[in-house]
Structure formats: structure tokens, C-alpha cells
Assembly symmetry: C2
Homo-oligomer: 195 residues x 2
């Protein structure tokens, strides 16, 4: 299994206008691209991937989304299709327990500490940061990658992640967008035949 997690600092936590993902939805476009790039390959969905999005925006933070590759249906790789699914999830009543909104799409309401604890029990946590260990020299097992959005992780969230992280890793000299990090990591794992 591969798991990818994005911390979306401004992404809203109530239903939003699908025609304005970058603006009033709090850069929800970044979340949509992240989910798309993690799960889709040509003509199919990666069944070995789960994606998490930690939505920290107003009015009802924090909500956590989970998209499970193994059971996902009714979704296309474009931003609006994924945004529509997120919108559907944000309309539902949420609690700390995961609730399935559509095949493979789950939502819950959790504190950062809770979701990080849960993730750390699923595999080894790798935190992506520009000054980390070069990814080319890191061996990945049951990876859970934690990636910031355009604002990065807050100091408090970063401290919580570092407490459980096996390693801080970097993709090299360039600073990539969150969704590009996922595409590159999927490629590296494909090459190494790590599932």
C-alpha cells in the first residue's frame, strides 16, 4: 500500500462553489489535483493507493477526507469531478468515526493529533520537506507520505508529524507542487516495484 496525505491549510470545510475552486473554496483546486494525481493512471485507478486530505479551512475545521483506490467509483481525473465528490462529502454529518459517502470516499472530523496517530499505525511516515534526505537514497516500506500545500505545514502540525516520522525526505533541488510530488513519488515507487 501507498498512502499520500495533504495538509490543506485553507481548504473550506463546508460545501463550496464548484466553479470557484481556487478562490472561495480555499485552494480546493490543489486538493483536487493531489487526489487525482495520486489515484489515476492511464485508463484506470491505482488500487494500491489511499489518499487523505486534511482540510483546515473555515467554517468547521478540521475535516479529513479519505479516497481509497481499491473501492473508488464514479469519479474522473478532472478537478471538477473530484471537487464534486468532496462537496458531497462536506454535505454529510461528520464525527470522529469514518463515514463512507460514496464507494471509496470517506469523511471524518478529527484533530490533527488523532489523524497523525492513525496514519502512523498504518505504515511508516515520510515527511516531505525541501531540506530532507534525498529520496533517491531512501528505502520506502509501506509508505505514508505527508505533504504540505502551497503554504506548507504549520509549526504545530509539523511538530506533531516529526514525532512519528521515520524520515524527512526531499525530491531534490527544485520545489514541486504537492500534486507533482505525488506523481514523482508514484513513479519512483513504480520503478522500484514497491506497492
Amino acid at each position: 500500500m501507498r498512502r499520500f496525505v495533504i495538509f490543506a491549510n485553507k481548504a473550506v470545510t463546508s460545501p463550496f462553489n464548484l466553479n470557484d475552486l481556487p478562490g472561495s473554496a480555499g485552494r480546493m483546486d490543489i486538493v483536487c489535483r493531489f487526489i487525482s494525481q495520486a489515484l489515476f493512471i492511464s485508463h484506470g485507478i491505482r488500487r494500491e493507493v489511499d489518499v487523505y486530505a486534511v482540510l483546515k479551512g473555515e467554517p468547521d475545521p478540521i475535516k479529513v477526507l479519505k479516497f481509497e483506490g481499491k473501492s473508488l467509483r464514479y469519479i474522473s481525473p478532472d478537478e471538477k469531478s473530484i471537487g464534486g465528490m468532496i462537496n458531497k462529502a462536506l454535505k454529510a454529518r461528520t464525527s470522529i468515526k469514518w463515514r463512507e459517502i460514496s464507494p471509496g470516499v470517506w469523511i471524518s472530523k478529527k484533530e490533527v493529533a488523532e489523524i497523525i496517530k492513525e496514519l502512523s499505525e498504518l505504515g511508516r511516515v515520510y515527511y516531505l520537506r525541501e531540506d530532507g534526505e534525498d529520496v533517491e537514497s531512501v528505502e520506502f516500506r509501506e509508505p505514508v507520505f505527508i505533504i504540505g500545500d502551497h503554504l506548507g505545514l504549520s509549526e504545530k502540525d509539523e511538530r506533531a508529524v516529526l514525532e512519528v516520522a521515520s524520515e524527512v525526505v526531499s525530491l531534490g533541488d527544485k520545489s514541486y507542487q504537492a500534486d507533482q510530488c505525488v506523481t514523482i513519488l508514484n513513479y519512483i515507487l513504480d520503478r522500484r516495484r514497491v506497492d
Copy 2:
């Protein structure tokens, strides 16, 4: 310089509804993501990249778009922002000569043979296909990458590309989406410090 070219078999050649990129615009979402992934990095635009999109859909094929990293402005990485720029270009009168619609955004009306000839004079042409030479063992110089959309290249277009291609290259066993191919190629070139 790096150049990325997508052949978009169904992408429409007249203004379209920005809220329906995958449907009535003929999978224009693929073109938007391709352009976005080629040009954007975290907090900036890759000035060393040009992107071309060969639009082959109705009602007025073939139109060719060019997005030049070095002078591009007024654009964001989300599908709708890029779609809006394409829409603006498709509203303009076109001829075989390139016409600049907005800083760094150009459009022209060309046959496939003409655009391929032009591209082959700009650098070395690498055609991406699943059965090509493994990218990891290919050396790239002034690369012009030609990539198909979800339908691939037509037989006729492929013959024209193969006539000028230096090499047919592959990203490995997995079949990636066109925009993912670009992200991975940018990463590989970044690593090798090829600009």
C-alpha cells in the same frame, strides 16, 4: 530549453463552456492539466519550458497553441484558469502564422506536417510510447517531447512524428496520463540538470 507537445484528438477548436472541460470541450481538461504540469512549479513558472497543444477536434481543426514559459503571465495552475486562456485564444482569428493572444500565449492554424517540421527544427524530437527505449538510459539534448492524449496518436500522425523522431522513449512498465508523463520528464531532467 525543454518543449512538450500534446496531440489532443478531440479538443475543440472553437470557444467552449469553461464549466464542462471534459465533456463538450472534448477532454480539454487533459490539455489544461498538461500545460499546467509542464509550466508550473511551486510558487512559479518554469521559464525554460514551452508547451504546445495540437487541437484536432471540431469545428475548425487543426489549431495549435503555444505557451511560452519565459513570457507567460496572468495565469494560475488550475484547469479553469488555463482553460480560460485557451478560450481566449480560440476566439481570435487564426492563420498559419503564430499570433500572440496574451503574454506568452500563441495560436496558429497549421497542418500536422507543418507543426511537426517546425518542432523538429527547434530541437531533438522524442516520441513517448509504451514500447520505446527506457527513458533512464536515454540522453536528452534540447528535447522536444511528443505525447499523445488518452487516445494516443492517430496512425497518420504517428508516421509523421516517427519520420523526424530521434528516439521513441518509454517511462517504464506503467502507462501514465499525458500530464503525469510531463511531470516525470521534468523531474528526470531536473535531476540531470538538463535545461
